[in-house]
Subunit: 764 residues, 2 copies
């Protein structure tokens, strides 16, 4: 049998999805199911003086009305790090869109009609929309009381500083060497600040769940990418043991970080407990805009450089606008902080990264998890240093980039691919681009960028299960969620490969926390490596068991039995898996259960407490055309380069890298959540500009290296976020190359470029 | 903590069931679900010449019509032993009620209306309702062609004889010693024949399922007691790998053997595949009557006895009326055959047991699985021998009964309790009864009976799973079905006991073949012992893992750690399970998965190929009042005695034994499926007499011994069938004691007793 590893196997979920047969949480209809809708605050910051829900309760078709007055939970606040978000608003609202009440009714129309009947009396409070507002002396607090601030389990060099009576939600510090001494000793010191926008994930499927309370058993069908953490949080909120909360995950229509944590689930469950009926909540896309976003970031990097270009000291300050509730924000800040000094062996580093509460939409996990913000800053800053020192930027990169085998930080996993080779490769691609000369007011520019992020994120352990059934068919079970990234197909390939059985005899089990082996969640490109290793081990465990069974039947020792093409051979006999199963179990019948577990070992010598499972790289080469009359920037060519270690499914890998680059293009050119007086002004698809197919550059290429250095099965690494990292810095570097203007803020709206050109012109 | 073992813990499923909150398969409503109904044959035996379904297809609301013309399956015939039953009739119908066609429509009314529109042309064939009819020379065959007759995997002394071109479906032979030589050498030889009725299981919930085909994935919610064998059979019928068939078992409203194998599921699935919608089929109780029953039996026992009462040779012939389709009938016949010579160490035995096809309702597994028929015969026969030899019947029993530690058959598990003590105990109970003297035409009689059956049946292996979740709550998973027998509570007690955690922190997972560990089915009182051992092992595996985790935290070796009251102690420290979980897994989080597997080892030295997991005993003492004017028999007092080894939950054990005795009372006094010209005359609750509360004797007592000899957890054995065994023989023995008439056929209708008295009077 040809190994399915490295083959472009069609997606296992493809047919279901394109034919519409695949069921999503929103497709679920349960007998007696009610439809829930939430009432949102029109104010960005206000005390709630009074809520009168009597009229709403009396509306036809209304079964349950949930407000702070009747909130039937054990714990009113939730959040993966800081428990700061109420199921419904308690004392005040903290952003325009904050949830004040909820209604469950026979249909959506009745629920929406009831929303109009609430009487809520607010007392407006000062609004802080930016981190500067929120950190201003004497600024009011977004959260007066904060309980359960979690002190992360950091290792050497990293720490968590708690700010009392402050809008600083979380402060991560990383230090090595002595930055101040480094600056003092350096030939030059440069400092630059960069601003990166807040973006909306915009998964095709908005936040949706159906919750059903049967006595003290809660079942939730949720479009989530983190079912087990969600189960844990729901159990805490509703005061139930984990065994009495069951999270079932049907197909999920995209996540990108948005589908982590509790979204609609707690409200649906609270309404269900009250109404004693199943309750479905499906947000409109406008509501998804007002639920969670990428944190806006302002990053200042100060670097001490020697005359030869060597970086000797660096100080980074990152302010991430965390919005009104923290959710995964602290974790994003920690990662952004760890990544901010960039992939260079700088001896003296000090980084401070802050999550700051403001009166805007809560921010948290987003594809890239703080790395795009950091990469934009450090690669742009490198290019600016090169210009100031009059060194070729790529030479400066090569001077400073980590080499394969180097440690990013002491004790962390060594860099697992050749960054220098990757840089040369991507730079050679941009050289080869034949720029088209056009009108004189169109200026061309080319440049590259190079970034790295630790992959695997907060996913430190995974369990998997592979069963061989009596007829030789195989079922695997994983807590990692197929959110469109293709893991169902990749695991199918791995399992089929390990057991040498046909792909169509392997089946994924539905994800249900009551049965599926524990997993921390689906994030940080971790599935292929972290869950992949658990899955491979589970398949190998099953393989060892079927080999032992065959050895018993053949009367030979297990090491004399081989498994190839779904057939066991040994002692001169050959028998298909199915036959071995039948004979081994006999009249008792049975099944083989293979289990796999992979854990990243804790290591307090490493700053984040755990070594990175692998390194994800994002290198890019951009060619840009600027219309100097309008400031319009057009990405004419883009080459994205990453390393997959080994591609399990090349077509899916390419799709992931292309998708990531398009995310980068969106944030570099258009995407930005715009507030005015604390109100989100463009929270709908009419106003918010997502990338379109016409935004894909005419020359758009993805280079995926297979350097084999991944820790995952067959040398694979995670990928799917790297493609974002280089877009903003490569494009801004190319813009400077084209028009000599340094853009320190994305997205590159025509107005911004035009103003920057004007400003530069006036300076000249 | 007081151990929950031996405590009367309230049923875990009790509240759900009495409040109506518990969901059964029939409660399920899926979006777009259709309602299926079947068309049944009015003839007991007929060729189908033509089926015209065009009118039915055209009826309003009809989505699918299934006949032999469009049967969309890979294999048309199913059956656990012989594949002889078609999903819908092919060439002919074999009993009145056989399924000819099926309809799926928007509601039941539309489906029933469509049934009236079928045109079916039959050609009637001779009807054979009894085994005598079917075995008559030249009788037509019920099944012309029979494929896949399975040759059971018997051990020493047992064999399977195939009869070609015969209505003998299955023939089991068991031999030891030389019966003919034994008879020749014996002082006396006696032969008697006994007839036992065909009964209906009458579970409260009729046969019900919902089937849903999504592409090539079949999900079935089924009221089944054998989900894994059902999955296997559905996979075969529909040509799917096992991994693409998922059987989910909600609450089940009683089984008693009826809920094994395929009942409504294949038709529901075929209709669903055709209609591309979920299809629900819920039989009416009249249809359940026409689906499966207990096999009617005629048993002849011939015994060679020495003057001192010692049994020296025995020949048994058992004819079981298997009805039109075999389903589990061959297995019942095998067990009835193995049990027929009774619990006596007779050196020379020869038994022939036959399943005979007839044109009646298919017969198969039924609480007792052939043992009540056998026990009625051998204990009645013993009492008749005692009278003939003028020996006290109990003395004759004590002379011949096996002793604790004796082998029932060479190599089988030794008898695991004291049968002699049990007999004395039950006999003393009947002596203590103070008979009320009443009218002179009321005659009193007292007697006992003693029977034994090998427990655990065809359940030769079990897998179980016990998870400890991060908060210390526990979930266990088992493929054994809670069919009302209380296993959910018993396993809860076992798991809580092994982990020393509170009962309310333990939760059973829903049974779903895609996740639940494999199990052969729920039958033969096997769950407490066979699954119980797997469950105990799984809990102990989990226990060992939490102890190891605590040892790691305490810095001591595992054998220095103890677990009591849900707290781990060692090295001077004490920590609750929850805390050990949290600290052991740390930021990676996780769960402990304990696995258990128990297998009865194959042993070809034993007649049935596998030793019996345990011995179930059924001893009874009856006091009867006969009205000699009407022949009415009234059971005034009944004492049932069994051995549970160790009662996990005494209240549930008593309920099981009482229920079993009431089954025995039903079959002894009223229950009998009556045919006329091949048509079932009393297939409804109006006509079929089930035991009522008023039939429970005024003095009704259950004695459950705890002799600790069980192989199950804590010395427990299975129980719940033993209580049936002694009723018919004890009652008939008491009848003879009262009026000197020997009844060799049950049920004891007044007419039968009256006629027997008349006959005896005329003989005198």
């Amino acid at each position: 049998m040809t190994s399915p590893i490295g083959q472009n196997i069609p997606r296992a979920d493809g047919r279901d999805k394109v034919t519409g047969a695949g069921l999503y949480a929103g497709d679920l209809k349960l007998p007696g199911m009610l439809y829930g809708k939430v009432l949102r605050s029109p104010f960005a910051h206000a005390k709630i003086k009074r809520i009168d829900s009597r009229k709403a309760e009396g509306m036809p078709g209304v079964f349950a009305v949930l407000t702070r007055e009747n909130l039937n939970v054990a714990e009113k606040l939730y959040g993966p790090y800081v428990k700061d978000q109420p199921v419904v608003a308690l004392d005040k609202v903290r952003y325009a869109g904050d949830i004040v009440a909820a209604v469950a009714a026979v249909d959506e129309r009745a629920a929406i009609a009831a929303l109009a009947e609430f009487e809520v009396e607010y007392e407006e409070l000062p609004v802080m929309a930016t981190f500067e507002d929120a950190l201003r002396e004497g600024a009011p607090l977004v959260h007066e009381i904060l309980e359960g601030r979690k002190s992360p389990d950091f290792g050497t060099g990293a720490s968590h500083i708690v700010h009392e009576n402050s809008n600083v939600c979380f402060h991560f510090r990383y230090e090595r060497g002595d930055a101040e001494a480094g600056f003092a000793a350096a030939d030059h010191v440069f400092e630059d600040t960069f601003d990166f926008p807040s973006a909306q994930h915009y998964p095709m499927e908005p936040h949706t769940s159906v919750a059903k309370f049967d006595g003290d058993m809660l079942t939730v069908w949720s479009a989530t990418q983190s079912p087990f953490p969600q189960r844990q949080e729901l159990a805490r909120v509703f005061g139930l043991p984990l065994g009495r909360v069951r999270v079932i995950v049907p197909y999920v229509g995209g996540g990108y970080g948005a589908k982590s944590g509790i979204k609609t689930e707690a409200i649906a469950a609270a309404l269900s407990r009250m109404a004693r009926r199943p309750v479905r909540i499906a947000y409109a896309s406008e509501e998804t805009f007002r639920t969670m976003c990428q944190p806006r970031a302002s990053i200042t990097i100060k670097t001490g450089v020697n005359n030869d270009g060597t970086f000797v000291a660096r100080q980074c300050k990152l302010y991430l606008n965390g919005g009104a509730y923290s959710n995964s924000g602290p974790s994003v800040t920690e990662k952004a902080g760890y990544r901010a000094h960039g992939p260079y062996p700088i001896p003296n580093v000090r980084t401070d990264a802050y999550t700051v509460y403001t009166n805007t939409v809560p921010a948290g996990a987003f594809r890239g998890f703080g790395a795009p913000q950091a990469a934009y800053a450090y690669d742009s800053h490198l290019e600016m240093i090169a210009r100031r020192l009059n060194i070729d930027a790529n030479a400066l990169r090569l001077k400073n980039l980590l080499r394969r085998g180097d440690e990013y930080a002491a004790g962390d996993t060594p860099i697992d691919c050749d960054l220098h080779g990757a840089l040369k490769r991507v730079a050679s691609e941009v050289d080869r681009v034949n720029a088209k000369f056009s009108d004189s007011h169109i200026m061309h520019g080319r440049a590259v960028a190079a970034a790295v992020k630790d992959g695997g994120g907060t996913n430190k352990a995974a369990h998997a299960l592979v069963k061989i059934l009596l007829d030789g068919s195989v079922v695997y079970s994983t807590g990692s969620v197929e959110i469109g990234q293709g893991l169902r197909t990749a695991f199918l390939q791995m399992v089929a490969n390990e057991l040498t059985v046909p792909l169509d005899s392997v089946q994924a089990a539905e994800l249900d926390t009551q049965y599926t082996p524990f997993d921390k969640g689906t994030n940080a490109s971790s599935a292929t490596t972290v869950m992949g290793l658990a899955m491979q081990q589970a398949a190998r465990d099953a393989r060892a068991q079927i080999i032992a069974a065959a050895a018993g039947l053949f009367g030979v020792s297990a090491d004399e039995v081989s498994l190839n093409d779904g057939k066991l051979a040994g002692g001169g006999r050959t028998m298909p898996v199915r036959e071995v199963m039948r004979r081994h179990f006999g009249a008792a019948e049975g099944e083989i259960v293979g289990r796999g577990y992979f854990k990243v070992p804790k290591n307090s010598a490493v700053p984040l407490g755990y070594p990175s499972p692998f390194w994800e790289i994002g290198f890019g080469a951009a060619e840009i055309e600027i219309d100097t009359e309008t400031g319009t920037a057009k990405l004419a060519n883009y080459i994205s380069l990453t390393d997959a270690g080994k591609m399990i499914n090349p077509q899916q890998c390419r799709g992931q890298d292309e998708g990531a680059a398009v995310f980068g293009i969106g944030q570099t050119f258009f995407e930005d959540l715009v507030y005015e007086n604390g109100e989100l002004m463009n929270g709908s698809l009419i106003d918010y500009r997502l990338p379109r197919f016409s935004d894909v550059p005419a020359n758009f290429k993805t280079i995926i290296l297979e350097e084999g250095g991944g820790r995952g099965p067959y040398g694979a690494k995670g990928m799917g976020e790297g493609g974002i990292l280089a877009v903003a810095p490569a494009v801004c570097n190319a813009v400077e190359n084209a028009i000599g203007v340094r853009m320190q803020q994305v997205p590159l709206t025509p107005e911004r470029i035009w103003r920057a050109m004007k400003e530069r012109g006036s300076k000249k």
